[in-house]
């Protein structure tokens, strides 16, 4: 590169220089391009062309000289070449011959070569075919394997195989027809698998629907047994409390033997569900299966909850509820173990649907039930259902509410049944004191209800203060208490004692007391029977405390707490009032009876002319009756009642005699008749005095004795027999001797008082005496008349 500028500077110096330069360039064999290009670029190509032509002329001259110089050598050379040509031609002939010879010799080999090429081609084709067939064989092997799996109902490996075919081979299958067939059959096979799996699942649905009832029954049975153990434990605890001397640290252990059949029932098989769910997930339609499962199970549940129309609810409710329990136990297991097949909210909403339906059924059935034990039976099973399903996490508040809602209905039925029973007992009672001849009878009718007068078992036969109706009624009341507590057990979270107490009060007041009052007012009982009824009421009134303790005991309240409680039963006061009503009825009945005898007063000869030696007939009858009355009442009635009754009777007799004297029936009477009354009264007063002391009534500390009840008629008789009846007008004497007498009554009676003179042959002294009394009576009559 550095040489270039020098050469150019030489050319540019002049034309002679250019020619020399060119010649030098040519002799050196250098490239003339740049020089020529420069010449044309500079716009002066003529100079360059002339120089080049001159060089050409010089060279031609040199060539001609050179040719003349070397002419002979040239001719020799041509001869040589012609010789070579001839030799070459000879060689060519030889080669042709050799070639022909070679061809003859090698034709067989060439054929073999062609064959070889053909075979190479075949080999290539076969290789391709083999490659294709390998793929096809692989695919078909997989297809056969898949078919085998399907034939053996092994759908999971079948699906795996299908996936392998679809993802790994389908695009690469070289045979179009095979590819088409395989592509077509893959979805068909999947559909077949889906159908098969669904069919298997449907079989499981049929099976589990049948099993659900057994599952439910076994679970409920287990809950029932657990409850039974609870009850036994509680009963033992109550006995321990009842016998406080028993050892409190005594323990009873029982061996729980598991029922293998029940275990196998509760270990139901969910494999078909898992399998179906998994297969549907593999098929890519898991959601479809979940939806199918949920809908079909809901339909099954709705079918199962249809009430049987041919069977009474009392018989059909247990299978129905067991079926529902089993259904939800299965659902809970599926929820926990089937990995997303069910959602928590789905199970909850299904349960809400079911429990709403159950509560609706229960309300409908409870509303039409008319026997308390039926309602209790259903309630027990419902609470067992509640216990069972709550263990699996289901809410049972609605069930509890239904039961609570119908407690009034239940107790109303109990009250109706109890009323019927009590009415029957009262109607069939003989109202005679119960005679107990054997110890077991004593235990059953006396000890059981704490009616013992003391702790010592008495001599037999033992005469009880009550009739046979009383222990029967007590058994009904206790049964009522038990039934009431049974209704609330396992279904009430609050303390049920107050509620049970309320219903017990209703039983004792609305049923027992009403029935007793009906008997009191029915006027169908004789005197002794009425006394016994009153005595019975007394015993029943005292039993209220026993009933209350029994209620507390059944409600699980310790005895000492119950005893400490001050609130008792309202029924106690009500029965007390009824007792008084019975006593009043007794008094009325006694008085009514006495009236029957007092009618005999009408037969008394009020104008008898001689003083009688014997009492009037009516008084004999009355005294006989009173004797019987008191002796019977003494054995049955409490002293207070006895006092009331006899006092009432005495007062009634007094009033009857008084009324008779005041009535129009008696127009006049003589002093002799009054003397007869005096005899009657003396007898009655003696009776009253004797009974007052003999029965122990004196110990009551009453200010009024039985004789005091006769004071009015006694004072009247005393006045009429007095030698100076006019003293009645003296305030001091009247206050002391005639305080019970009424002015008007005395006036009426005195007006009827007539005295006849004795016979003309009477003694003078007697005559004088009578005259004096007559005058005094006349004075009294006048003064009473003036007074009024």
């Amino acid at each position: 590169m550095t040489a270039q500028p020098k050469k150019r500077s030489v050319i540019e110096s002049g034309d002679g220089g250019l020619g020399l330069g060119l010649a030098l360039f040519i002799s050196n064999g250098e490239d003339l391009g740049p020089i020529i290009r420069h010449g044309f670029d500079s716009g002066k190509p003529e100079a360059l062309m002339q120089n080049l032509r001159s060089i050409v002329k010089k060279k031609e001259v040199e060539i001609e000289e050179l040719c003349r110089l070397h002419y002979e050598d040239f001719i020799l050379a041509v001869d040589e070449l012609r010789g070579v040509l001839v030799d070459a031609d000879e060689l060519k002939g030889m080669l042709t011959g050799e070639n022909i010879h070679l061809q003859k010799v090698s034709s067989a080999t060439l054929l073999n070569l062609d064959e070889l090429f053909e075979l190479y081609s075949i080999k290539k084709n076969i290789g391709e075919a083999i490659t294709t067939l390998k793929i096809c064989v692989k695919v078909i092997s997989l297809c056969m394997a898949c078919n085998g799996y399907i034939a053996e109902a092994k759908f999971h490996p079948a699906l795996k195989t299908l996936d392998t075919i679809e993802k790994g081979y389908l695009k690469n299958i070289p045979l179009k027809l095979l590819k088409k067939v395989v592509a077509k059959h893959i979805p068909l096979i999947k559909m077949h698998i889906e159908k098969k799996v669904c069919s298997e699942f449907n079989d499981w649905l049929v099976h589990i629907r049948r099993m659900a009832k057994q599952i439910g029954q076994v679970s409920i049975s287990q809950a029932s047994m657990a409850r039974q153990k609870d009850e036994e434990m509680r009963a033992r605890k109550r006995e321990a409390e009842a016998h406080s001397d028993a050892r409190s640290d005594e323990h009873v252990y029982t061996l729980d033997v598991e029922n293998t059949d029940e275990e196998s029932t509760l270990n139901f098989d969910l494999t078909p569900v898992y399998r179906a769910h998994h297969m549907h997930i593999c098929l890519g339609i898991g959601e479809k299966f979940r939806d199918y499962y949920y809908k079909n199970r809901l339909m099954q549940l709705n079918l199962d909850m249809q009430i049987s129309t041919s069977q009474p609810f009392l018989e059909s409710h247990q299978p129905l509820l067991a079926q529902v329990a089993g259904f939800f136990i299965v659902e809970q297991r599926v929820l926990r173990s089937a990995d997303g097949l069910l959602s928590e909210s789905q199970v909850e909403s299904t349960w809400e649907t079911a429990i709403a339906k159950i509560t609706s059924i229960l309300e409908d059935q409870f509303a039409r039930m008319s026997i308390a034990s039926h309602l209790l039976l259903v309630k027990d099973y419902v609470t067992l259902l509640g216990t069972t399903v709550s263990k699996y996490g289901y809410q049972i508040a609605q069930l509890i509410q239904v039961i609570a809602k119908y407690k009034d209905k239940y107790h109303q039925l109990l009250l109706i049944e109890s009323r019927k029973q009590i009415d029957d007992i009262l109607a069939n009672d003989s109202y005679e004191q119960m005679i107990i001849k054997k110890e077991y009878e004593y235990n059953m009718n006396v000890t059981a209800f704490h009616f013992e007068p003391d702790d010592v078992v008495p001599e037999f036969p033992y005469v009880a203060p009550f009739s046979s109706g009383v222990p029967d009624i007590c058994r009904i009341v206790r049964s009522f208490i038990g039934d009431s507590v049974s209704y609330f057990s396992y279904s009430a979270r609050t303390n049920i004692y107050e509620i049970v107490k309320g219903y017990l009060d209703r039983l004792l007041i609305e049923v027992l007391n009403d029935s007793l009052l009906n008997m009191v007012y029915a006027r169908s009982l004789a005197m002794s029977q009425m006394m016994q009824l009153a005595g019975n009421i007394s015993v029943l009134e005292q039993s209220c405390d026993m009933f209350l303790l029994y209620s507390a005991q059944l409600c699980g309240i310790p005895k000492r707490i119950a005893q400490r409680s001050h609130s008792g039963l309202t029924a106690k006061a009500v029965l007390k009032a009824s007792q008084n009503a019975a006593y009043n009825s007794l008094i009325n009945l006694a008085n009514f009876k006495i009236d029957e005898f007092m009618v005999l007063l009408d037969d008394v000869n009020w104008i008898v002319e001689e003083a009688p030696d014997n009492p009037n007939e009516y008084m004999n009858e009355v005294l006989i009756y009173l004797e019987t009355l008191v002796s019977t009442a003494q054995e049955i009635l409490p002293l207070e009642a006895l006092y009331k009754m006899v006092s009432g009777a005495m007062s009634h007799i007094s009033d009857s005699i008084m009324t008779t004297l005041l009535n129009e029936g008696v127009k006049r009477f003589t002093v002799n008749a009054v003397m007869g009354l005096d005899i009657d009264l003396k007898l009655l007063e003696a009776f009253a005095e004797e009974k007052f002391y003999r029965t122990g009534l004196v110990d009551l500390g009453k200010e009024t004795t039985f004789a005091d009840c006769l004071v009015e008629i006694r004072q009247l008789v005393n006045l009429l027999l007095s030698s100076q009846p006019e003293n009645f007008m003296n305030p001091v004497i009247r206050g002391r001797n005639y305080g019970s007498l009424d002015y008007k009554k005395v006036a009426i009676v005195c007006d009827k008082y007539k005295d006849f003179a004795d016979g003309l042959f009477g003694s003078l002294s007697n005559r004088n005496k009578q005259d004096a009394r007559k005058r005094s009576m006349d004075v009294l009559k006048r003064r009473l008349k003036d007074f009024s």
Binding site: N202, L205, V206, N296, Q300, L303, Q306
Partner: protein, 215 residues
């Protein structure tokens, strides 16, 4: 095979499908006559019918199947459609107990409106829904025996027993018709043999057409 002309048959038997709405009568019809099942539940309006010709004991029977609406409001127009029926399929749904309990009412309707010699088969459909069953198969069998009916459980969805149900009732009908035809023929045969006579079985009110004479 050579195509048969539509009127080339030995007997035309009219069969009625009755039962509560929704038990699947229409799908039983479509399964038997067209081998189709429709999943959509559309109520039949009034009456539909379809026919299918089949061979029973060497004779060509054309079955004309009448499908009716089970709903109450279509009852007025369905009483006429019993006319001329020689067979009836009494259909109930095994998943709905009420449809089974109503069979008695449908039987009364048949006996009130249809020929007293009608051949009756009781059909418990939807047997594919075994997991939702509310009528045990034994109950269906017991009622059928009590009433002197044939009984089958079918699934129109799965084409189970549908063909068999129709085959059974058509055979029963054919057997009865054949006996009557034979009796009529014997009565007519008291005279000298003839080329052939048309047997008029007016009792059954069945359209009888013979393809060829026999004597």
């Amino acid at each position: 095979m050579a195509h048969r002309v539509d009127n080339e048959y030995d007997y035309l038997f009219k069969i009625v499908l009755i039962g509560d709405s929704g038990v699947g009568k229409s799908n039983i019809l479509s399964r038997f006559t067209r081998n189709e099942f429709c999943l959509e539940s559309k109520s039949t309006i009034g009456v539909e019918f379809a026919t299918r010709t089949l061979q029973i004991e060497g004779q060509t029977i054309k079955a004309q199947i009448w499908d009716t609406a089970g709903q109450e409001r279509y009852r007025a127009i369905t009483s006429a459609y019993y006319r001329g029926a020689v067979g009836a399929l009494l259909v109930y749904d095994i998943t709905k107990k009420q449809t089974f309990e109503n069979i008695q009412r449908w039987l009364r309707e048949l006996r009130d409106h249809a020929d007293s010699n009608i051949v009756i088969m009781m059909v418990g459909n939807k047997s594919d829904l075994n997991h939702l069953r509310s009528v045990p198969e034994e109950d269906g069998q017991a009622l059928a025996e009590k009433e002197g009916l044939s009984f089958l459980e079918t699934s129109a969805l799965e084409a189970l027993n549908v063909e068999k149900a129709f085959q059974t009732i058509l055979k029963d009908i054919h057997q009865i018709i054949s006996k009557k035809a034979l009796a009529a023929q014997e009565a007519a045969g008291s005279g000298p043999p003839t080329q052939g006579t048309t047997i008029n079985v007016t009792d059954s009110a069945v359209n009888t057409k013979r393809g060829c004479c026999s004597s």
